[in-house]
Subunit: 331 residues, 2 copies
């Protein structure tokens, strides 16, 4: 049986893996952002090509091609027509079908080969899903920085800057987040000048923050983790954990017992947020064992391409995907 | 003594009044948005010209000119050089000096001629100030939709849409705000299709809301007032009131007893928010009598131009400004 291609095309980076029908990974490659929404279709195709070429090269058989492909992408992109992608992959050796899958599903299958369970992802955004028979049965949040993404990196960073601005103009309690944020923006907190009834430092801080795109506020989330002895920071993290637990609870239907897969930097770094979400899992889900932490969706994309080829992925095959991919990544 | 010109150049509309040294208003005119930040300098100058020309025309002496002018504008514009404005007003008959003042100060003086007190404004944004000897002594919030403006029209509208999105995907309680928001966007709530684990109505709602500029979410604030029997809506309004009370408390220094001026649509329509903020005024401020409600800053701009001309504005003059302006507005 010819090789298969699995791609995890994310908003920050793209990962491609070539594997055989037993789950043995033959080649692996990476590139920059591969999401058409955040990168534009041209940029996404360029990243896809770079990652796939690298995977073909490390596989040592660039001319052999592959029989079918799965590309995992963020929700909104799934609705887009796969036409340009399929055409592009055809020129890169794809001889069979292409399927675009939700990145959320790929993240889930990076943690488990079981067809039923839950995924909770909190990176820049935040989203949860219940998976049944290998499909998304229910999704909660993932509604973006303006409407939701509660407990995400953006959400935490946003709360950090709002808390500092409130503290500086006397509406909120003083917080250790203030020197951290001012330092991150290279602003001097000692400036004592006032203009229009406001300290000049506050006006400069406001100007700096509005110069960013809103989602960039996620870069201030680490300040909350670094200052977790501070009451304001702790409250932000506790509210983030409660929101994430609520998002996961919203997709739980009381019959699917797990497993639960955690992904995204807010949940996979072993912080108080991870512990708090884990502690508040519904009893049914807690029974399924500790949450499985995953770094990205490339293993899951490989599981999905095997499933679509009619191969039942079991513990053996799943272990082989993970082991051989780890070897390729380490080399 | 020759006439004086006062202009209130707002983000939605511009008001100009020509008055004499006794506070008698001679002419009045209006135009569209006059704020260089929201409208651009060319558009702002066009609105200014239209309003001033109309004021000169109703005064019946378009050729006479005026000795000095005050233009009240939003905080950020105060820092901008008054050069183009002065040049423009020179061609429109200004023979003396031009002063640009903060709109917040003009709102305060629309409510009182006292040189000390407080202003709390909640329209699209939210800001409070303590005024001492006719100047802004302290300002809190007014930090914009991304960083603050807590309790403002934007803030309430934002909470409304977040609450509806959360209710629709099961993260938040059901709320009467949902049918209101779906109707406002002409979306049908009965759609039962699902895509990628999510009801199609939710995805369409998300698409519609991201198509707006963030500040436009303020247009959904009235939904909260209309649904004030609903627990979710009531909680949003109560939190808005608490935030506004906190913003006002942040500028109170415990010595200036008032008066307190309320401005902006969230506070001047006599809703539960106004009542709740009033009920939570610090004792010192409550002693100064009920808050004075003002609709805009044009009376205050007139007070400011008189003050800058060295005229002590007392109850008589203040009453004359208000009375004669009301006559001009009614005619």
């Amino acid at each position: 049986m010819p090789a298969l291609l699995a791609v995890d095309a994310g908003g920050t980076s793209t990962r491609a893996v070539l594997l055989d029908a037993t789950g043995r990974c033959l080649g692996y490659g990476t590139a920059g952002a591969g999401n058409p929404v955040s990168r534009g279709i041209e940029g996404a195709l360029a990243s896809l090509e770079q990652a796939v070429q690298a995977a073909l090269t490390t596989a040592g058989s660039p001319a052999a091609g592959y029989a079918s492909a799965v590309v995992a992408m963020a929700g909104a992109s799934v609705h887009s027509t796969p036409g340009p992608l399929a055409e592009h992959l055809g020129r890169l050796g794809l001889t069979g079908g292409l399927l675009i899958e939700a990145d959320l599903l790929a993240m889930f299958f990076s943690g488990t080969y079981q067809p039923d369970g839950y995924a909770l992802i909190a990176g820049t955004g935040a989203v949860a899903a219940r998976i049944e028979e290998g499909h998304l049965a229910a999704v909660a949040d993932g509604t973006g920085w303006l409407l939701g993404d509660e407990g995400s990196g953006f959400w935490i960073g946003h709360q950090v800057v709002r808390a500092v601005v409130a503290a500086l103009d006397g509406r909120g309690p003083e917080t250790a987040l203030t020197p951290g944020l001012l330092a991150a923006l290279a602003l001097v907190s000692a400036a004592v000048g006032r203009a229009q009834g406001r300290p000049e430092t506050v006006q400069r801080l406001i100007d700096e923050l509005y110069a960013l795109r809103p989602v960039e506020l996620s870069r201030f989330a680490p300040l909350a983790f670094a200052a977790s002895d501070d009451g304001v920071a702790r409250l932000i993290l506790d509210r983030a954990a409660a929101a994430l637990a609520g998002t996961l609870a919203a997709v739980s239907d009381g019959t699917v017992p797990g497993p639960v897969v955690f992904g995204g930097s807010i949940l996979t770094h072993g912080t108080r947020v991870t512990a708090a979400v884990e502690a508040s899992l519904p009893p049914l889900l807690r029974g399924g064992g500790a949450p499985l932490l995953v770094g990205d969706g490339v293993v899951g994309a490989a599981v999905l391409v095997l499933r679509h080829a009619g191969i039942a992925v079991d513990a053996d095959i799943f272990g082989r995907i993970r082991g051989t991919l780890q070897d390729l990544r380490a080399s």
